[in-house]
Symmetry: C2
Subunit: 313 residues, 2 copies
């Protein structure tokens, strides 16, 4: 059995890479920018160069390396075929085969949110649970469904695309996916800010947020923690939307724990509490006492998940 493996997480701005030991140790991690020029054709080349260089630097022979596990921001089939990654400019092709040819090592590919879920369930907030749903509140809203310890990918690679559960029938604004009223439009970092701006424009209510020049999810939660009424309304509404969507999910897979990660989850307990409150209101009685936990691996969850994917069980 190989001692080493790489985890790679391709984002719209940066690519994160990590060298791992099979027993679950992160030996080295680094980042490179995501070159999206020319339909993203340099992305895999850049990754291949980084990996070859790291193997030389660390003096790791390829036969002692399990390969590369990689997360990409879009739906992926089990064979490694990506079905369009609008954020990267990619069309439809087999990412796993392509990179594998370049580096002459095995490559496995999954959806980035699924990879983060796998990482968190291996060594993070979900460690020890066999049935869990990871919710990633970042630029978008992603999810990863783990049942009996195994990641569910879905027939079209779209299992866990929980950001596109439609929770508002009245919404007129369009989501990145083309539909209107998706969870992602309200519970992503960008969605939260957009809702805040709407609320600030639509009322005269005093709020600390009016004095902030650049509003992010952090400012909203910080203001809410100090008792700001408008900020608290926004947090409540976020909890309502997210709690409702998670209640839907429990009616389908009935997990043991929801692990909440992504940049927005840095808000901590205030987020967990408001989501849990609204979850309980909307959940089927048998699933009402599901656990909620915060993700612990932060931005590294994706590379941990990649490593777990290539190491296997």
């Amino acid at each position: 059995m190989s001692e080493f493996g790489f985890g790679v997480d391709i984002g719209g701005t940066t690519i994160k890479l990590g060298l791992f030991g099979v027993e679950g140790v992160l030996l080295d991690k680094w980042e490179i920018p995501t070159r999206k020029d020319d339909g993203g054709k340099y992305i895999l080349e850049d990754i291949a160069k980084e990996i070859e260089a790291k193997l030389v630097e660390k003096n790791v022979p390829k036969y002692n390396c399990a390969g590369v596990g990689m997360g990409v921001p879009g739906p992926i089939k089990e064979d490694g075929t990506v079905l369009k990654c609008v954020n990267l400019g990619w069309g439809i092709f087999n990412v796993a085969d392509e990179l594998s040819k370049m580096i002459s090592m095995p490559v496995k590919v999954g959806n980035d949110a699924n990879m983060a879920a796998l990482g968190e369930s291996w060594q993070g907030g979900g460690k020890g649970y066999q049935n869990q749903v990871m919710v990633t509140l970042g630029t978008g809203v992603g999810g990863g469904i783990i049942l009996d310890g195994k990641m569910i990918s879905g027939v079209n690679g779209a299992a866990g695309e929980i950001g596109h559960i439609k929770i508002n029938q009245e919404e007129q604004d369009t989501c990145g996916c083309g539909k209107c009223g998706c969870l992602e439009q309200y519970a992503s970092a960008t969605g939260i800010v957009k809702e805040a701006k709407k609320a600030l424009n639509n009322t005269d209510k005093p709020s600390k947020l009016r004095e902030v020049s650049y509003i992010s999810a952090k400012e909203i939660f910080d203001a809410a923690k100090t008792g700001d009424e408008l900020a608290n309304e926004l947090v409540e509404k976020l909890g309502e939307n997210l709690g409702l969507a998670l209640a839907h999910i429990s009616c389908v897979v009935d997990p043991e724990v929801y692990v909440i990660g992504g940049g927005v989850s840095k808000a901590g307990d205030i987020l967990i509490q408001v989501v849990q409150k609204h979850y309980k209101k909307n959940a089927f009685h048998a699933s009402r006492d599901v656990k909620f936990a915060l993700a612990t691996l932060g931005n590294d969850a994706g590379i941990w998940g990649g490593a777990k994917l290539i190491f296997g069980k």
Copy 2:
């Protein structure tokens, strides 16, 4: 390996029983009334008597019988513990252990909707698909989630409780589960009729349904097929609600096929078409081309599923 096994489906009114051959043949089936007196304490006794009598009648020795697979109308844990069956008057106890002691044979128990799903996936409308969601539109709305050929039961036995996905935030009427706005309130046989009565009371629109003394889902679909405007609006609304809920489910498990069963599904193609139309509007793009099929085993799906549960893979 045993040649024979029993499938049992406990309903609120009748208990269906079937004797099966392991290769997937229904050898005999019959029904008895469900005695709900005294907290449903006679139900398992009645089933035990029926099974013992059938073994004698058919001259099947117990060593040649795999046992009994049984569906009950409520959430069930994997170990066979039922978490209240309001329809039967049952509290919390281990149904599998109890019946097994009475008949000295192995007993496995699952949720009735899950059993119907297992039956349909074994020998019915879902035959040949490894990833499917069975939707049962009967007195209530149940579901069964089969991933990689295996039934998902959930940590609290509530996986596939899709009738309790909340699809209407404005609803004031309470669902049997205690929440308001559950899918079951609109898409069950009783829910459809309730919505029809509301519509007939709230408008003066002419409709054939006004001449029907006892409205059931069948009359509504029959009227819709002949072009009745009000009936068509009702069918459209049903499609909207069901299509939306199934789109939610695809964002979680992304199945290959939805198999629609239960009494309401006798409406046939008109139901599939309207559900599919609204599903496509609400589904995430990668999952938009999921297949829809009608269940084929009718009221026997539950006993087929019970048999499959006890025979195993």
